[in-house]
Symmetry: C3
Subunit: 315 residues, 3 copies
Amino acid sequence: MPIKHKDLLGIKELEKDEIILILDTAESFIEVSERPIKKVPTLRGKTIINYFHEPSTRTRISFEIAAKRLSADAINFSQSGSSASKGETLLDTVRNLQAMRADILVMRHSVPGAAHFIASHLEASVINAGDGAHEHPTQALLDLLTIRQRVNQLEGLRVVIVGDIAYSRVARSNIFALKKMGADVTICGPTTLLPHKSESLDVRVSHNFDEVIPKADVLMMLRIQRERQAKMLLPSLREYSQLFCLTPKRLAKARENLLVMHPGPINRGVEIDPSVADGPFSIILNQVTNGVAVRMALLFLLAGRSGIEKNPIAA
Amino acid sequence: MPIKHKDLLGIKELEKDEIILILDTAESFIEVSERPIKKVPTLRGKTIINYFHEPSTRTRISFEIAAKRLSADAINFSQSGSSASKGETLLDTVRNLQAMRADILVMRHSVPGAAHFIASHLEASVINAGDGAHEHPTQALLDLLTIRQRVNQLEGLRVVIVGDIAYSRVARSNIFALKKMGADVTICGPTTLLPHKSESLDVRVSHNFDEVIPKADVLMMLRIQRERQAKMLLPSLREYSQLFCLTPKRLAKARENLLVMHPGPINRGVEIDPSVADGPFSIILNQVTNGVAVRMALLFLLAGRSGIEKNPIAA
Amino acid sequence: MPIKHKDLLGIKELEKDEIILILDTAESFIEVSERPIKKVPTLRGKTIINYFHEPSTRTRISFEIAAKRLSADAINFSQSGSSASKGETLLDTVRNLQAMRADILVMRHSVPGAAHFIASHLEASVINAGDGAHEHPTQALLDLLTIRQRVNQLEGLRVVIVGDIAYSRVARSNIFALKKMGADVTICGPTTLLPHKSESLDVRVSHNFDEVIPKADVLMMLRIQRERQAKMLLPSLREYSQLFCLTPKRLAKARENLLVMHPGPINRGVEIDPSVADGPFSIILNQVTNGVAVRMALLFLLAGRSGIEKNPIAA
C-alpha cells in the first residue's frame, strides 16, 4: 500500500491505517541502523533539503542521518546566512529549491501552518519537522513506534502527557496520534500551561500529577520552556518541579511496567529527575533511536511515490 | 574540446567559443536532474569546497547540489565560525584547503577581484560565485542558457537590463556575456544606479523604462538592494517602483514572446509585480533549474582537465 | 595490530607503539589523497559526527574530508543553532548522537577534559579535536608524521617549540608526543607564556630564541593568540616579534636542514615572517596535507575495531 499523501504535515491529516503503514515501514528500517554497514541504496539520486528556521540538534541530525543511510543527497540550510535576510518570501525560497529538483523538503518553522502553506504550493513533498506550537508529527510517530515495541496494544493504553501542553507541538501531535490509535489520554499540568479548550481534544484533564501516576501505563514528560516563566505562565521552576517533576518518590507509586518518555532536550531536575531519566523505566534514548527509523520510513514512503526499489532495506 | 582556463573567474576572460562549450555541456547535464535517480559517478572522489564569505541560499545550494549529483565530495564553509576571526589571511586559508587536495574552490567574497587573486596563487581550480560588485559569471551563463533554450539566436537579440546596474555583479557579467554573443544590450534605470562610464561597456543607456519595453526581446529585472536607499542613491522604493517596476500594465506594451528574467532573490512589488514574476512571460524558475546544470558543467569541465570519464552523463 | 583504545583523547594516554601504528597507518593513507579518484569504500555506512563547540576551519574540514574520502557519512554540527541554548547537558546531547548510532564523535570543546568526560560515558568512539588548553592530539600526530617523513629518526631530534606554550594544547600534545618518541624538546618564549611547572614536562626551557636556533633540528612556531595581550601576558605584539618572530635574519643562524613548522592559523609578521612561512625550510603546508591522512588513519583504526575490510586503501 502506498501512502496517500504527497506530504507529511501533521498527524491530524493521517488516517489510522496510514499511521500503521508508517510504523510498520519504520520497524523494518530499525535494523538497517544496527548493521556494521548502516546504508542502503534505496534513495540514491534523490535530493532532500533540511530547511530549519529554528535551532535544532536532534531533529535536523536525525533527518540528515536518515537521508544519508538511504543514500540520498542531503542538503542543509538554516535561516541565518540565507536569502530571507535579503527580503525573499518563504514561498519564493522553496520554489527555488523545487526548481533545483529537490524531491523532499524537510521544514521547521516558527509559524504554525508554515509547512501546510508551502506544501500546497509545491509539487515536491514537504515533511513538517515542527511548525510553531502546531504539530511535530515525526516526534509523535517515533513516540508511537517506541510504545508499540513494548506494549501489546495501543487501544485503551493509559497515557499521561505532563507539563507545558498548551504551547507544545509535541503534545498536540501526540494527542492526535494516540487518540487515533485508541489510547486513553490524560493531559496534566498547571492551569496556565493547559489549553483553554481541551474538550475539543477529547482528553482527560488533571492538575494533580500524584493522582494520575498510579494508573498510567505511559508518562510523557514534556520539556518546560524556561521562557514561559518570563511570560508569567509559571510562578517559578522550583514550584513547578515540586508539583510536576517526575522523581523517584513519585515513581514509587507507579505501575511496575510503566514507560517514561521525554522528547528532549531534557531540563534535568525541572520536569524529570536525572535518576529517572537514566533509570530502568526510561525509554528516552529508544525514542531517539527510533526517530532515525521513522524518518527513513517517511523519506522512503514519500520519495517512493514515484516508484523505487522493491526491497527498501536491501544493502 | 577541453576548456582553456584553470578557473572560471569572470565572463570577461572567456572567449565566445568557450561560452558555447560551457552552454553545450550544461545542456547535456539538464537531463540528469530530470531522471528518477539524479546522480552520475562523473566526479566521484573529487573534493569541491564551497567557500562563502557572504550570505547565499540559491548559489551555495545550487553548487552543492551540482557537486553531489556528479558524486563529488562537497564541503561547505562560511566565514562565520572559521579562522578569519583568528587573523588568518585569505590566501593562507585557501592554501590550506589546497593542501588538503581540494580540486575546486567555489568562492563568494565581498571584495571585487578576490577570486582572481586567489586563483593566481593556487593550482586548484577556482570558480567565482560572486565577488563584490565585480562579476557573477555562473549567473550570466545560466541566464544565457535559459535564453538560448527559447530563441533561435542570441545575435541581435534585444536585451534590456533594468535597475541597479552600477552595483550589480549580475549586470556586469550579463553585459559581458550578452555582448560576446552578439546581443544588443540596453541598460535602464535611474541615473544614480547606472555606471558613470557606461561607454566602455558598449551598451545603450536609457532612463525611460516605458520607452524601451516595446522593443525588448528580453527584460532582465535586477534586485533592488534596499541598502541603496540608506546611501541616498534611491529617493524611495515607492518612487523607484512607479518608474521601473515591471507591472502588468507595462507588460501590455511588450512583444508577445517577451522573456522576463530575474536572478533572485525577488523583492516582489519593488522591481517586479508578483503577477508578472509568476506569469506566462516569466522564465525565472527556469533560470534556477538551469543554474544546477551550468554548475555541473563547470565542475565537470574544470575537474575534467585532469582526465575523467568519457561520458559524463552515464548513470 | 589493532589499536587498544576505544577513543583518541590525548597523546598522554598513548604508548609509543600505538603512536607508531597510527603514523604507519597514516602513511599508507597519504597516497589515497594523491589519486585522481580520492576515495576508498573503507568506512561506507559508518556515521561520523563532527561536533565543534569552538570555531575551526582546518580541523573541521580536515576531519570532514577524511571521513568522506573513506566513504563514511559525515555530519557536522556546531554549537550555534543547537540544543545547548535550550539547556541540554553536553552528556545528553552526545548520548542522543550515540542513540542515532553514530560510530565516531569528533569533538572540539573549550573545556579541558570535555572529550575524556564524554568518552567515559559513551560506547561510541570519541576523537578529541582540541579541548581548551589541554590537548590537540591529532595535531601532534600530524606534526610527528611530517617530521618523520624528513628525518631518519625522532630519537635525539632537537625540537624547539616557540611562543605561547602555557596556553597551547598544540604545545602540550606535541611535548607529550615528541618525548615519547625520544626527541629532545626545548620550549622557548617569554616567561609569562611558559608554564609555571615546566619540570614535570621534562623539557629544556629557554627565554632566548637566538641562542637556541643554531642547534635546533625543528622549530615549531606557535600562533600568538592576540587576546593574551588584553590579559597583560604580552607587553606588545611588536616587542614579542622583536624577540621571538622567526625572521630571515634569525634563520641565517640555523642548521641548513632545519624544519620550520606552524600549526596554523598563522599571524604573519608576528610569530613568523611571511618569507619564512613560504620559504624553503617551511613544511607548514605538508602538515596540513598530512592532517587528512592522520585523521583518515584514526577514523579507520577506531571504526575498524568492529572489523572492516582487509585492505583499507583499496579503491
